[in-house]
Symmetry: C2
Subunit: 261 residues, 2 copies
């Protein structure tokens, strides 16, 4: 099977133009099938301020009312996605930007919650592999923005980590798939206050051991649970680390590498 690398980048890179340009240059140079998944950044919040749309956050999650959906559709699917695509094209990478609505790539439904109305937030039902495999087969590099749809005409704001994970699972039977979550730290840390305490390799047994000993800090647990869920669903390897060091993450010299063995 061909190798496929799926990289998720978050707001910390997107909001820093120089870091983003350097990351995209390095990403373009990766010489395998690849998919980029991007989150949002501060621009959506800034634009909401300019448009006098108050932003409601509950447990750190943005409540997506109709006006906020309009803003994130403009910023994520428009401004951020198309600028990333244009920069990748300039670096010789044949990128194509997509939301989940495009080619019905990612089907979702509006979140159902017993007590909370998250608004137009989408939970993923299915990533349709056939469009993505067709594009990859043509030498194209899909760039996925965190907007999906319900196939009833409704766009939905969707977590980019989830999109990356579900895309990796859907493509795991077609490619040797590696999933890279980039964030602001060097990797999974044994000591949250020490950037040099990166756990180089993590398998399920070691993860359970560390969790039992209370050595994995709470914020990391959902990310790692997702990583092991991806491994159980056909993904070969998950790497967590800094987007600025993408080559070193891929070579195994930096970051935390999570795998079965």
């Amino acid at each position: 099977m061909d190798k496929l690398i799926i990289i998720k980048i978050g707001g910390n890179i997107i909001d820093d133009e120089n870091k983003l340009l350097l990351f995209l240059k390095n990403f373009a140079a990766i010489d395998t099938h690849k998919i980029l998944v991007h989150g949002g950044g501060k621009l959506a919040t800034r634009l909401a301020g300019q448009m006098n749309t108050p932003q409601q956050l509950v447990d750190g999650r943005r409540i997506t009312d109709a006006e906020t959906l309009k803003i994130v559709t403009m910023v994520y699917a428009g401004y951020i996605n198309k600028n990333i695509v244009a920069q990748l094209q300039a670096n010789g990478c044949n990128a194509i930007g997509l939301t989940g609505a495009d080619g019905n790539a990612i089907l979702a439904h509006k979140r159902v919650h017993p007590t909370m109305d998250y608004g137009f937030v989408g939970d993923v039902d299915a990533v349709h592999a056939s469009l993505l495999t067709t594009l990859l087969g043509q030498g194209l590099c899909p760039v996925l923005s965190p907007i999906t749809h319900d196939k009833k005409g409704q766009l939905l704001n969707t977590n980019a980590d989830t999109i990356a994970q579900e895309t990796a699972k859907a493509l795991g039977s077609f490619y040797d798939t590696e999933l890279i979550y980039s964030f602001e730290k060097n990797g999974v840390l044994l000591d949250i206050d020490n950037e040099n305490s990166v756990i180089k390799k993590l398998n399920l047994a070691y993860y359970r051991e560390l969790k039992n000993e209370g050595k994995i800090f709470a914020g990391m647990i959902p990310k790692l649970d997702n990583a092991f869920s991806a491994l159980q669903n056909g993904v070969k390897k998950v790497i967590i680390g800094k987007a600025e060091e993408i080559q070193l993450l891929l070579s195994g010299d930096k970051g935390t590498s999570i795998s079965h063995d």
Copy 2:
């Protein structure tokens, strides 16, 4: 050769939600290969107002400074494009939204003008047919927004009529291509004040005759020159009329049909 229908819709439809939804329903039902090209609408101007970005118009053309480019990228490539795609998906049409940067579909350069700086306005160099034929071959319906790129990392604001025309020319040797320009009038009128004076059929000889007699009003001449240019470059037929009457335009019962004979 398979038939391909390329339809360009403008602001008058995009700004009217009910008209747009009805148009998209009718468009989705067209049972051939098809491409939709959309322009902008009043939303970009409204958003510029909210963001306190003054809009400069010269001869009816928006000057695209950096802030305006950001706005039109958000509105055209994000909000308008993705909402159209989601609605088409809801109507069973497997739409995929693209800018010229996506898959390097449309290459352009920043307009060069001896006395005027139009800002980030793009003139089209090439429409790359291979991506579009691949997508059409997969049963997908490309939805093109009027944003292109220069393959050096710069997005460019580009006239939607031009995108429709250049796309039709590029695909004319692969498909029996018909190009439909929709606008707010019933078709090309013999008497600009009489909506019932639609010229049903127009060929080059008749067009020259009418032009010599001063019977074609000035605003229509560039549109018609473009139509005949498309016909000379492999496009089979150009139809001009109202988007609300798309079926009647396609059946030849309404609008102006422009062809060689």
